[in-house]
Every structure is written in structure tokens, then in C-alpha cells.
């Protein structure tokens, strides 16, 4: 069971959370054309490696946030409140490679 880092509550067991899908996907515009709509609704990156995801600490503070997780190792590279700028998975990976 993962330890998910809630930006407000700290690391908490996975059962307190619900996953809310890949982060950084803009909601389709009201006048989105079918291709853009399909892209926004149904296509995800399915990344092997660092991936930004949305979580909700539903059985805790109730808040949504963004966490970057390595989909291979399940290691979390960080988490941020929604709307707060955060390094992209690629930047995080580059930073880790330097270290």
C-alpha cells in the first residue's frame, strides 16, 4: 500500500485517497472540436517513469492535489496543491539524474 504525500497532511496510507487521473490535462473548451474533445477525454500518456497525477485525500482533508510518481517504482517525487506551479516530470527526472 502506497504512502501518498498529501501536501497538507503529509504521507498517509493509500486507502485514504482516491486517484483522480493524470494531471495537467485541460478540460475541453465548450467549443472543442471532436478531435480535441476526444484527446481531452480519452487519451492519456500511459507514461513509464515519472508521471504527474491528481489525487484526492478524500478520507482526510478532502483536497485535490498533484503528485509526481514513478510508475515503475511507485516512488513519489513530490506533491503540490492544485494550481501551484511545479517542476514537470521531465525536469524532476533531469534533476534526479544530476544528483
Amino acid at each position: 500500500m502506497l504512502l501518498v504525500p498529501c501536501p497538507w497532511c503529509g504521507p498517509r496510507p493509500e486507502i485514504e485517497f482516491v486517484a483522480a487521473g493524470e494531471a495537467g490535462i485541460a478540460r475541453p473548451a465548450p467549443d472543442a472540436d471532436p478531435a480535441a474533445l476526444a484527446e481531452a477525454l480519452y487519451f492519456r500518456s500511459n507514461t513509464k517513469g515519472l508521471l504527474a497525477e491528481r489525487w484526492r485525500h478524500v478520507h482526510g482533508c478532502g483536497r485535490f492535489f498533484v503528485a509526481v510518481r514513478d510508475t515503475v517504482s511507485d516512488r513519489f517525487a513530490g506533491s503540490w496543491p492544485p494550481g501551484v506551479p511545479h517542476p514537470s516530470p521531465a525536469e524532476l527526472a533531469a534533476g534526479e539524474a544530476e544528483r
Partner: protein, 1000 residues
């Protein structure tokens, strides 16, 4: 003397106490410190079990958790009956009652042993090849017979009366295994000041040291060092010691599942104690010191009772004071097994011969010869004589060309074998650690893991005692330091002891037998032989995962602990590939079987799942309600009167609502309070309906989609004040609607000043529905005129009802004049009783969800999730006109603008009518254009709701069908087992289509 094979001295048993036990009804005795296996061995019992497939007689193979053969059932009572326990793991207690398994009528005479004669038929994939035809025989004949014949023990028939506890724990360093490496690791971590948990599946700490009388640490017997170390650990407050506790599974982020057996070894356990405790330990660092498992050699008839591993014999002698036989032959490919022969000889057992597979033996060969043992090198075993017990073996001599020439036959009652040792990397692999093939020794070793785990000792491929201790200490020190604990100085141990052979010989040994006929067993538990594996490879199975499933090697309770590497080597050789290319099968959780009780813990009976009764639940019970589960809710389904059937009661309840008035507990509806200056803007964007201009005091039925435009939920939006809304959701959708609303509030439109609060549990809701609803309610209402003109359909108001502050809705889910009274939950029970009395006084009655469903279907009111399935838009269900297309944005706007939604063939919600009024269609039945559709015909749609309507005196149905309402007036067919039923497509509103009854 507890049995003729009890050694005169030695062993970690308490000879001063005698324990009585029975096996298959026969009485035996043993001592504290015995296992069931050791006590039976002391008594000379060799035959302990029958094999899975061939029902071959089987005896002990190992001395521990890896035992594949000696599975027994231990019986305390009907509910406390545990099948499939390894006899080597069953600690003896006074009065223990065990029986053998998989035999009838008795272990010695087993009818199904005939299977063995037909063994040539039972090849790999036997079931797949044999029971192919005729197809219909599988479910009725083949499978039941196979299931009845195969298998191990039988599950208990009575409920489990024991309790099982669950503990969530945390530590800096978890040490798994309390052998030399584990003890050293725990000691180092404890000295460094870390919070430590040390667990071992054995009742006693010490691991391999317990069965190695030659071991010395720091100049003293290893026993003393173990005792001192355990005592030192026990005195350290931050250390917890868990005996009889196996680490069975690794989950992510350092979470390890431990199963502690608390009472199974006790004759008369305290009923207050749980039988088992599951510890879920979140560890910052884990030291895995799980040791290694000795592999049996694979040769013809190596499964006869009396053929066992050398370490099993050594363990019996050193730990339990039992000599496994009187005349022993040792067959080995490695050095350390010689110790068993030497120690048995010293205990007075005749060692007839040591047969060493290696051409020139090893370093121990000379020592053994010096000790007076007869050793043959470059030799093998060709045959084993004896059926229910070994009587003799035939030695084969391996020539320079690799051919085997039959040699002498040697009489014996026990044949010890050792192919070498396999490191226990199970948990390391579960921790998503990579495994590395060690070419020189022929073993898989731990590589790197993404988890905070480090292996030490034999499971890491380290063989010597001093090396294991040093490595354990270093691992423990490192774990404590990296977990944020203190430092401890490095330490080197001076130690001598048995150095086990990591690696050794893999696969089937050379022998003079016919490779296509000889029964050289690889997996004892599932009766898989070397030729079975070769056959699987010959038939084209290349992946070891496929070979495993086809032959069933490595399955069942032991998960191939003794067999996997031998099977892999045989498959690799047959495929002509190196072992690492063939690969390992997945190491699955759990490491050892864990009882269902332990997983269930306290989540049994009423605590299995939370139950949500409504505030008026007790009154509904009092009114004779029959309940249904809707999610976790208990909802009153029907209120049958004495002697009344449920169907008759439903019919009566429907008529009551149409004719007088019914009372319905609607408290399970999801309720949200949406408050704030931007509340109207927010709801206008969340629902497809235009809500910004909803007047205070008015309600609107509204539909919610997600951005895909498909119906997600529906409910009533009521405006109590300019900045305050009371919103209802479906009973099942409350949580997901609240989640969607929070998602948009927090992440999409954080600029909107709105608060959303779930108030489902805060309000009890009583619906009064029927022509006399106003007559029943009006006298109770203060401060509100209920007349049709002053409080029309779809009104809402705050007022007092029966003296209690209330939110009163004029809404209807029945098509009748209706009110829903919301009162604070604590008043729900009293309100239900008061209204029930008043309803009864005018000839009405409470009604349940069955009647509610009929009433709403008569009106064509849909139920989201029953009449919709996530592919229907508001327009598809006839609500297209309510979509606020002029709104600049709402959730679903882009999805609903898709051009293909205009396709006239889209499925839509309709009604169905069958000529025969007594026919009620079946929900889920498919609709076709032809009465007798050809196989492969696509359905036009399906029935979503179907009831008998008492109001109309006929069956009614809702359905989704291609073309939707454009098909009204046409005929569709409902193919059923008894023949197709023709149905006319009609409007989904069967009753009062003008809605006159609502507006009174």
C-alpha cells in the same frame, strides 16, 4: 520412550513431559519441542500423506515451511478444523488430533492409488487433452468428478469461532528471519538505537543455528550466543520480538504483512486471545534474512516415504532428538549434507553409504571417510525400492562418458538427498527487487530493489557462518543509520559452523532409468515429474510461466519452494536455453498460506461492511418492512401485512398512493448544501439545465453529465435563498456527485466563492404522495399555505412541520400530488410515526422501494444507472429540451455538441407494451427486429425496467432501443427461452401523460 526412533539424548525438547496426540485415530506420544512430524518420525511412522494426483504414498521431505508432502488436517472441533498444514509446522500439544488427507478409505489402503497405475495417461495437460469432448460433459460430469477426486484437505463446515486481530505498526528497522544474519542485524540496529521489529516463523529464534551442533560464535557454542543475543534484544525497550510470525507479503513503500500464530500451539488456549494476529508493519528499512531452502535431488522414485533432505534429518536429530531411520544412505551433490551422515552415525544410526554425485567428491569426502563412512563418488541413485517405505536403493556409477552403469543394491530405510541450497528471495522479489543469476554457483540472488530492503545471510547467497553474521551486522547498522537512527561501529565475528552449499546441482540427475518412463519427481506436492516438464517443452511451451500452468509445477500451498529451480533447470535443458533466459516464475504473496480469518480480521458479520439505516429505520421495522441493500443503505422495500405476499403488498401500496396517500422514507437521497455568492453560477455550470435564474422558493429537476455529455446523475435543485441551494442526488450517486462538485470547485473554478457540504445524514426525508397528501400534511405545517396556488408543484420553503424546523418540497416521483418533508435527522423517527398514523387515518399506508419503482415507471421517470448506462445523453432519455444550450459553459457542453449525437439511430429511452397484459418482460432482455433472429444478429436495444402496473392492470416496460422515440408505433421482438415476445414501442409515459394529477 516416545517412539523407537527417539534418540537417547540431544534435541531441544523437554523430555520430562509427555504429550499425547493422535494421528488418524492412532495414539502416540511426544515431548514439548516436538512437531507433529518429528513425533511421528520418532514413532516410526513414515507414511504421512497421499499425493495430489497419483495418490502415491508420501512421507516427510523437509523439516520446515517448505514441506511439500506431509500435509495434515488438525481438528479441534467442527469450526476449528485446519486443513493443509505442513506436519513440520504443527507444534505438538497435549491432546492434538490430526488426520491425513487425500485418501479413502485409509492412508495405508487408498482406492485412488489406482491412479498411479494409469500414470502414463495422466501426462502434462491431461485435463485439456482428455476432457475436450463432448463439450457439454465438462460442467456436469468431468469437472465435478475431478473436483471431488483431486485436492487436499477439506474446509471446515462450521463457522470459525476464533477471533483474529489486526495491528498496524511502524518501525525503523524490520528484520525478517532470526537466524545468524537476522539476529546480528537486529542487534546492530538495536545498539544503534533504532526502533526494531524482529520476526521469525519458528517458535524459537536461532534459525539454522538451532540445527547445527558444530557452530561456535566468538569461541563459545552458538546456542549461548543466540540465548545472550535474544536476551539482550528482549531487554531493549525499542525492540519487539515476534516468534511464530512469518513475513508473508511485501506491499509497497516498506509495508510488510506479518502473520503471528498466537494459539495454534496451545492445548487449551485462553479464549480471550486471538488465534492469529496480522501485523501490517510500515518499516523505514527492512533487513531480509530469510535463509535458504535445501533442494531434493531429482531421480527415479525419489518420492518414496523415507526419501528426505539431509537437512531434514539433521534438524530432526539436533532439534527434536529423533533419528529419522536406522539404516541410512546419503545421496548428495554438495558438501554440507555430509554433516547429517556424520552426526547420524555418531548417534548410532548405521550409515550404509554416502553416494556423492560429484566425480571426486568434495572437501568433506575425506573427512567422512576418516570418520569411517563408506563414500562412493561419481555415483547416483537409479532406483528406490519399497512402496510405502524405502527398503533399498540401487546405486549407479557414472562413467567418464556420462553413462550410468547399474551398481549395487543397498538395503536401507532412509535415503537422504541434497542438491544444494536455494536462497529464499521470495520477499525480495515481491519488493520488486531484481534477481541476478549467479552463473558460477547456479542460483538467483537478490539484485537491486526500489524498496528499502537489503538482503543478508544465506538468502543473499552468503554461506559461511562468520560471513553471515558480519553481513547481518553491517545490514542492521546500515538500516538503522539510513532510517535516521544512530550509528554503530562495524563488527567482525569469529565463528565457525556448517557452511551450506549455495547453488549445487540443478535438474534431474543422471541415472540408468528410461528418461521417458522413470518417475523422477520435481514437484512432490502437485505430482510433477521431470518427464512431464520435458513433455511440456516438447509440446511447444517455452515461457516458464506457461510450463508452470500446463504442468502445474510450483503451484499449491508450498508454491514450489523445493521444486521451482529444478523444474526451471529441466525446462531450460529441454529447450536448449540457458537458465536465465528461461526466467523465473513470479514469487507470489503469500510466502506461506495465511488463513482467511486473518485477512478478514474483525470485518465479519455486522462489521463486514458499514450499515446505514435511515433515522426512521426502527419504525419501518415496526411497520413490518422488508429491507433491501442499496449500497450500504438499508431501504424498506415493501411493507407486507400479515398473510400478504410481497407482490400483493406492492400492488396494494401502488394503489394506495394512486387512490389515497402513501408515506415513503426518502432519507437515503444524497443531499448537498451549496452556499455562497457564486452558488447559482456554479450550479448553472455543473448541471446541464439553466439554473442561474431559478427563483427563490422554486425547485427544478436537473440532470448532470460529465464533460463527455453522458447522463451521470439527476436530482432536484432547490433555491432557498439567493446564495443558498439544497440539491439532491440519487441514493447511489451521492458520493461521486460530491466528488465531482469538489473537483470543479477546487481545481477548475477556484475563483468561484462557493461552499459545498454533504448534508445527506443531517436531514431525514419523508415523502407524502397521493391525492390526500395535502390533507394529511397541512394541519402539521406552520407558516406556510399549502394550497396549489400558493405552493405549486416544484416549490420549496422553510417552515415548521409538527413543531420542528423543516424544509418542505412540493415534488413528486410518483406522478401524484407530493410533498417531501425534510427535518433534522434526529426528528425523523418521530415524524415517520406521526405521519404514518395520520396517513393510516385517511386510508393510506407506508410504501417501499418496490412500489416506488412501479409508480415512477408508470410515469416514465428514469432511474440513473438502471435506465441509463453511461452511454446515453439527456436527449437520448427524452430530456434534450432541458439542456441550457445557450449557456456559455457547463460541464458536458462540448460533449453534447458532438455532431454524431444527431444520428437518428442512436439508442433512446422508450416504453414497451405487450399485447397480453399479463406478460411482464424481463429486465436486461435484448430487443431484435426479427422474431427469430439469426445467430450473430446485433440487438436493437434492451429492456431496462419492467413491472406489472396495478394502475393500468398490465405489464409495462422501459427500454433503450436504436432510433429511440422515432420507433414508437413499431414492433420489436424480445427473444426469450420460451420463444420471442412481440412488443409495441410506445411513449415511456404510461400514466397521466398530461401531468394533471401533479398540479392540484
Amino acid at each position: 520412550m516416545t517412539g523407537p526412533f527417539r534418540a537417547r539424548g540431544g534435541g531441544r525438547i523437554d523430555r520430562s513431559r509427555i504429550l499425547r496426540f493422535t494421528f488418524d485415530g492412532r495414539a502416540f506420544t511426544g515431548h514439548p519441542g516436538d512437531t507433529l512430524a518429528s513425533a511421528l518420525t520418532a514413532a516410526g511412522v513414515r507414511l504421512l500423506a497421499r499425493s495430489f494426483k497419483y495418490h502415491r504414498p508420501r512421507g516427510l521431505v523437509s523439516a520446515g515451511v517448505d514441506e511439500p508432502n506431509a500435509l495434515v488436517t488438525v481438528i479441534r472441533d467442527a469450526g476449528r478444523t485446519t486443513p493443509n498444514l505442513a506436519a513440520t509446522e504443527v507444534e505438538l500439544y497435549d491432546g492434538l488430533k490430526a488426520i491425513s488427507q487425500n485418501r479413502w478409505p485409509s492412508l495405508r489402503f487408498d482406492v485412488s492409488a489406482l491412479n498411479d497405475l494409469f500414470a502414463p495417461l495422466f501426462v502434462s495437460g491431461f485435463y485439456y487433452k482428455t476432457f475436450m469432448w463432448p463439450k457439454s460433459f465438462w460442467a456436469k460430469l468431468f469437472e465435478p468428478v475431478i473436483r471431488a477426486t483431486a485436492g487436499f484437505g477439506r474446509a471446515p463446515t462450521a463457522p470459525d469461532p476464533d477471533t483474529y486481530a489486526r495491528v498496524h505498526d511502524h518501525c525503523d528497522v524490520l528484520v525478517i528471519g532470526a537466524g545468524p544474519a537476522g539476529l546480528a542485524a537486529a542487534l546492530a540496529a538495536a545498539v544503534a538505537g533504532a526502533k526494531v521489529i524482529l520476526c521469525d516463523q519458528d517458535p524459537e529464534f536461532g534459525g539454522a543455528l538451532l540445527g547445527d551442533p558444530t557452530a561456535k560464535i566468538d569461541g563459545r557454542p552458538a546456542d549461548d550466543w543466540v540465548a545472550e543475543t535474544v536476551a539482550a534484544l528482549a531487554e531493549t525497550p525499542r525492540v519487539r520480538l515476534l516468534r511464530r510470525t512469518a513475513a508473508f507479503g511485501w506491499y509497497q513503500h516498506g509495508l510488510v504483512g506479518l502473520i503471528e500464530k498466537v494459539t495454534d500451539h496451545l492445548a487449551d488456549p485462553d479464549p480471550a486471545l486471538p488465534r492469529e494476529v496480522m501485523h501490517l508493519v510500515r518499516a523505514r528499512r527492512v533487513v531480509l534474512a530469510a535463509g535458504a531452502i535445501e533442494r531434493p535431488l531429482v531421480f527415479p522414485d525419489n518420492d518414496r516415504p523415507g526419501v528426505m533432505t539431509a537437512s531434514a534429518a539433521r534438524c530432526c536429530l539436533c532439534r527434536h532428538g529423533v533419528a529419522v531411520g536406522s539404516r541410512v544412505v546419503l545421496f548428495t551433490a554438495v558438501d554440507d549434507a555430509y554433516h547429517a551422515a556424520i552426526e547420524l552415525a555418531a548417534a548410532g544410526v548405521i550409515v550404509e553409504r554416502v553416494v556423492d554425485l560429484r566425480p571426486d567428491g568434495g572437501p568433506m569426502t575425506a573427512a567422512a571417510r576418516a570418520a569411517g563412512l563408506a563414500v562412493e563418488t561419481g555415483a547416483t541413485i537409479d532406483r528406490v525400492f519399497g512402496r510405502t517405505a524405502v527398503t533399498a536403493v540401487e546405486i549407479g556409477r557414472i562413467g567418464a562418458d556420462g553413462r550410468v552403469a547399474p551398481g549395487p543394491t543397498v538395503a536401507c530405510d532412509v535415503l537422504l538427498t541434497s542438491g544444494g541450497w536455494t536462497p529464499s528471495i521470495h520477499l525480495f522479489s515481491q519488493a520488486r527487487g531484481s534477481v541476478v543469476w549467479d552463473e558460477t554457483r547456479g542460483v538467483f540472488l537478490p539484485g537491486r530493489s526500489v524498496e528499502p530492503v537489503r538482503a543478508a545471510g544465506a538468502c543473499n547467497g552468503t554461506a559461511g557462518l562468520a560471513d553471515c553474521l558480519d553481513e547481518g551486522w553491517a545490514a542492521g547498522a546500515d538500516a538503522a543509520r539510513t532510517a535516521g537512527g544512530g550509528e554503530v561501529s562495524p563488527r567482525r565475528f569469529v565463528a565457525t559452523g556448517t557452511s551450506i552449499a549455495i547453488g549445487g546441482f540443478l535438474g534431474e540427475v543422471p541415472h540408468a532409468g528410461d528418461p521417458d518412463r522413470a518417475r523422477a519427481f520435481v514437484d512432490f506436492q502437485h505430482d510433477v515429474t521431470a518427464k512431464d516438464i520435458r513433455l511440456a517443452v516438447r509440446e511447444g511451451f517455452r515461457s516458464i510461466e506457461h510450463v508452470k500452468r500446463y504442468t502445474t509445477t510450483g503451484m499449491a500451498t508450498d508454491q514450489g519452494k523445493t521444486s521451482n529451480l529444478n523444474a526451471l533447470a529441466i525446462a531450460a535443458e529441454a529447450a536448449g536455453k540457458p537458465i536465465p533466459e528461461v526466467g523465473l516464475t513470479t514469487f507470489r504473496r503469500p510466502w506461506t498460506p495465511v488463513s482467511f480469518g486473518a485477512f478478514a480480521g474483525g470485518n465479519r458479520g455486522d462489521l463486514f461492511d458499514p450499515i446505514r439505516p435511515t433515522p426512521a429505520h426502527a419504525s419501518a421495522v415496526g411497520a413490518g418492512a422488508v429491507f433491501e441493500d442499496v449500497g450500504q443503505w438499508k431501504r424498506a422495500r415493501v411493507f407486507p401485512r400479515s398473510g400478504e405476499s410481497e407482490a400483493a403488498a406492492t400492488t396494494r401500496e401502488v394503489r394506495t398512493v394512486r387512490e389515497t396517500v402513501g408515506l415513503f422514507d426518502a432519507s437515503t437521497l444524497g443531499k448537498l448544501e451549496i452556499v455562497g455568492p457564486d452558488a447559482a453560477t456554479f450550479l448553472d455550470r455543473i448541471y446541464v439545465d439553466p439554473l442561474a435564474k431559478l427563483a427563490v422558493g422554486r425547485c427544478r429537476y436537473a440532470v448532470m453529465t460529465r464533460d463527455d455529455g453522458f447522463v451521470f446523475d439527476d436530482g432536484i435543485v432547490a433555491r432557498l435563498a439567493p446564495d443558498r441551494f439544497h440539491v439532491t442526488t440519487t441514493t447511489g450517486g451521492a458520493a461521486r456527485v460530491a466528488n465531482l462538485i469538489e473537483d470543479f470547485l477546487q481545481t477548475e473554478w477556484p475563483d468561484l466563492d462557493v461552499w459545498a457540504t454533504s448534508v445527506t445524514e443531517q436531514w431525514a426525508v419523508m415523502a407524502l404522495q397521493g391525492p390526500k397528501a395535502r390533507e394529511v400534511l397541512a394541519p402539521l405545517v406552520e407558516g406556510l399555505d399549502l394550497s396549489g396556488a400558493a405552493f405549486p408543484h416544484m416549490s420549496v420553503a422553510e417552515c415548521r412541520v409538527a413543531g420542528v424546523p423543516a424544509r418542505l418540497f412540493r415534488v413528486s416521483f410518483t406522478g401524484e400530488l407530493g410533498f417531501e418533508v425534510n427535518v433534522p435527522a434526529g426528528h425523523g423517527e418521530a415524524l415517520f410515526r406521526l405521519l404514518a398514523d395520520r396517513v393510516a387515518a385517511v386510508g393510506g399506508a407506508p410504501y417501499g422501494t418496490d412500489a416506488m419503482h412501479v409508480l415512477r415507471a408508470e410515469k416514465g421517470y428514469l432511474v440513473v444507472g438502471q435506465d441509463t448506462d453511461g452511454t446515453l445523453t439527456p436527449a437520448d432519455v427524452g430530456l434534450g429540451r432541458s439542456v441550457g444550450r445557450g449557456k456559455p459553459d457547463f460541464v458536458g457542453k462540448a460533449g453534447l455538441a458532438r455532431a454524431d449525437l444527431a444520428d437518428p439511430d442512436r439508442r433512446g429511452l422508450v416504453g414497451l407494451s405487450v399485447a397480453d397484459p399479463n406478460v411482464v418482460l424481463v429486465e436486461g432482455a435484448q430487443l431484435t427486429a426479427d422474431a427469430d433472429p439469426k445467430p450473430g444478429t446485433s440487438a436493437l436495444g434492451f429492456v431496462t425496467s419492467a413491472y406489472f402496473s396495478p394502475t393500468l392492470g398490465r405489464g409495462i416496460a422501459l427500454a433503450v432501443v436504436a432510433g429511440g422515440r422515432t420507433r414508437i408505433g413499431t414492433t420489436v421482438h424480445v427473444p426469450m427461452p420460451g420463444g420471442s415476445i412481440a412488443a409495441t414501442v410506445v411513449s415511456p409515459v404510461f400514466f397521466d401523460p398530461e401531468g394533471r394529477r401533479l398540479h392540484v
